[in-house]
Amino acid sequence: MRKTITVILLIISVLVPFMAFDVLPVIGDPQSAPNTHVSDYYIENAIEECNSPNMVTAVIVDYRAFDTMFETTVMFLAGLSVVIILANKPKRRIPAHSSLRRMKDAGGRPIYKTVNKDVMISVIEPVILIYAIYVLFHGEVSLGGGFQAGALIGMTYLLDIMVVKRDRPIFDIPKARAAAIAGFGPLIYALTGIVTILGGGLYLEYNKIPLPIHHAELHSIGITAVEIGVTIGVAGTIITILNALMERISFDDDND
């Protein structure tokens, strides 16, 4: 009954907006409302005002820096709330799904359908990390930015957890410590703003950083500092969530 009513209501709600499609702009129209007013200003002035050829970076960390600061704070708070929700010691770990437990090797020990450890750690992870650093520091010139770099670093830690046994980890970052690391991201971001205030400007007004160089370089320095903060925040939050969830689940090759 619930399903029939739902389906009927959804079909109605998909069909009704056909009348509203006239309001929406035509795809790819350069003269449509979302493509004209403020976006033209961003495109035409991003290089002179922010010294950032990548306009997306100019928008998110220069024109709309407050927005990004609080998005990073939201990420940190999400990691913190995961730590708080999962703060208690579980009575027993939830076992992994049975389809993962069936495979055994010749000695009768369980094996999982995982990737090769040697290839993963010695070949793929360094490449991912180099790419993350490139994306972080080159984010204002070409495609990239702090969020992507943070996600890449978090994914490297995920690969480590996937391929290495849990009682012998390469990096061991407990969830509370990872949340503390994530907190440094918004801190670096906020301190950048305070430095610009000390230089006599407004909060996050990068060309007032008190250094004796050209104002375009100052913008580059400000953007890079902010991106480093974003990277640390995102990577720390991903590691926090991953560790908090993984320590609740038991696999066959655990010793405890």
């Binding site: 056909f18 795809i27 495109i43 035409e44 990548n54 997306v56 990420m75 995102v234």
Partner: protein, 137 residues
């Protein structure tokens, strides 16, 4: 009639697809019995909204919003604003998914299930047991 449909699909068709994706997400959240599937459907909804915003940023002869020497006019680049907004939205959706997963883990540890029907039945049992225990005291 055929040309009407063709023009509609060429100019506004992608909005219809995002709408279908959004409706799929809502339907999943209402119909599915498993909380894990509800969480997945919430993510599908978020992806639909992200697609919608990215559609608004398209320009026909535009290239990626990274400044080049050969292109100087604003109409030669696609709109960077939806991309910037959705970049942060994607990352925040990761955070909400993490919080949802941790809540699911707590539910699974307390009740032993994340199926909605079983959960309501066990909640009833637990409240009845608690009431009986309270009477005996």
């Amino acid at each position: 009639m055929m040309t009407m449909i063709n023009t509609f699909l060429a100019t506004k068709g992608i909005y219809f697809l995002t709408l279908v994706l959004l409706a799929l997400g809502v339907a999943g959240i209402i119909v599915c019995n498993n909380y894990m599937k509800k969480l997945i459907c919430m993510n599908v909804m978020q992806v639909a909204v992200i697609f919608f915003f990215l559609c608004l940023g398209q320009k026909s002869p535009g290239t990626i919003p990274v400044a080049m020497d050969t292109a100087v006019k604003a109409s030669q680049y696609i709109n960077p604003l939806p991309h910037g907004l959705m970049l942060t939205a994607i990352v925040v959706s990761l955070g909400t998914t993490g919080v949802g997963l941790s809540l699911l883990l707590r539910i699974r540890e307390k009740y032993g299930t994340i199926e909605e029907d079983d959960l309501i039945r066990r909640e009833d049992l637990m409240t009845r047991k608690n009431k009986d225990g309270g009477d005996r005291k």
